[in-house]
């Protein structure tokens, strides 16, 4: 088993085993390693977005065309996605979102706190199934379970990766 700190590599392995082909992301420090791995993999198509809501719509199109996909973002992007959840709910489109959290464990930026607090309730209000994980050693297995739920049960699922798993952001450098 990988060391806990290697969770991005373990998550990449889960996504590859799941058959994820389209990866949409807004650049994020917590997902930096995973995004690099996805870009480097010839079986995946990694696409940078201007805003997270674009990814919900794009993954709808991906599923319509037979591709599995994933949306990588930070918790501040969740609020932007809410109206687009209407598409995946109404059309029963599988949606896998991996969200790195801000505004919680050890946060230094007070402006991150409101959306961090609202992330899980907002997703649940929009009908998204939420899996929260705070232990770096359990991120990959949580993503595996979420991918099963999304693609086998045709549901929108978000994995919220806690700041405790990611580690403090050092704002002094």
């Amino acid at each position: 088993m990988n060391r806990a700190a290697d969770w991005p590599d373990a998550v990449f392995g889960v996504l590859a085993d799941t058959g994820v082909r389209q990866v949409y992301y807004v650049p994020d420090n917590g997902h930096r390693r995973l995004i690099e791995r996805c870009h480097a993999d010839n079986a995946m198509l990694a696409t940078r977005l201007t805003g997270e809501e674009e990814g919900v719509a794009a993954l709808t199109g991906a599923w319509l065309g037979g591709d599995k996909g994933v949306l990588l973002m930070q918790s501040s992007g969740v609020g932007k996605c809410i109206n687009m959840m209407g598409i995946v709910q109404e059309c029963r489109v599988p949606l896998l979102m991996l969200v790195t959290m801000r505004g919680q464990w050890g946060e230094f930026n007070p402006w991150q706190v409101p959306m961090g607090r609202a992330t899980a309730p907002a997703l649940e209000a929009a009908g998204v199934l939420v899996h929260e994980v705070d232990d770096a050693a359990r991120v990959a297995e949580t993503v595996h379970a979420a991918a099963r739920l999304a693609f086998d049960a045709y549901r929108p699922v978000a994995v919220l990766i806690g700041q405790r798993a990611i580690g403090f952001k050092d704002w002094t450098k």
């Binding site: 940078r48 199109g61 109206n83 209407g86 029963r92």
Partner: protein, 196 residues
């Protein structure tokens, strides 16, 4: 150029008459009715919600089906709500994607209030600036006829803003159940793979 504005239903019918195997995504809401009026088709994915998402649904579909043509037909209000998506499409540069905006410079479903395109915002210039392979503003049926084969086949991404009049068109409503639209579309595109 004649002084008579283009009729949106005639424009969409002319474009879709040449659709062949093209996969079509329509946006909330008038362009969904326009496509239905032109003739229901299993290769149509009708959006009844998710305003601002049509172009991005088209991108995901184009990425999944690189061997098929994908045409997004949406309205100016819908495109404006997802305007930044043009930057994403321009950079992603899918060669098999075209976007046609039926631009009446109005929010048709909410009372015909003016959109930004009525006040100088040039959608084709935005698409060109985002790196689309070609982008144009069309005002005559001759231009629509000239662009139709391009929309269905020229290496993209392509963008056409088609200026149309504001005359009301009768409501023609296609399938409304999202799960049914999704299932029918996947069956048409994927065949036996649709059940995976």
């Amino acid at each position: 150029m004649s002084g008579v504005p283009l009729d949106r239903r005639e424009v969409v019918s002319r474009i879709l008459a040449e659709r062949g195997e093209t996969l079509v995504v329509t946006g909330l809401g008038s362009t969904t009715w326009d496509a239905a009026a032109a003739g229901d088709h299993p290769n149509n994915f009708y959006l009844w919600g998710g305003m601002g998402g049509a172009a991005m649904v088209g991108l995901g579909l184009a990425n999944a089906q690189p061997g098929r043509r994908v045409l997004v037909i949406t309205g100016d209000g819908e495109m404006l709500m997802g305007l930044a998506g043009l930057a994403t499409v321009g950079v992603a540069a899918p060669g098999n994607l075209a976007i046609a905006v039926i631009d009446n410079e109005r929010y048709g479903e909410t009372g015909m209030q003016e959109t930004h395109t009525a006040h100088g915002v040039d959608l084709a210039a935005v698409a060109a600036g985002a790196g689309f392979a070609a982008a144009g503003t069309l005002r005559t049926m001759e231009e629509v006829d000239a662009w139709t084969p391009r929309l269905h086949g020229e290496p993209g991404p392509l963008f056409a803003a088609i200026k149309v009049g504001t005359d009301p068109a009768p409501m023609v409503l296609p399938l409304r159940d999202g799960a049914a639209i999704r299932a029918r579309f996947r069956q048409a595109v994927l065949g036996d793979r649709a059940d995976e």
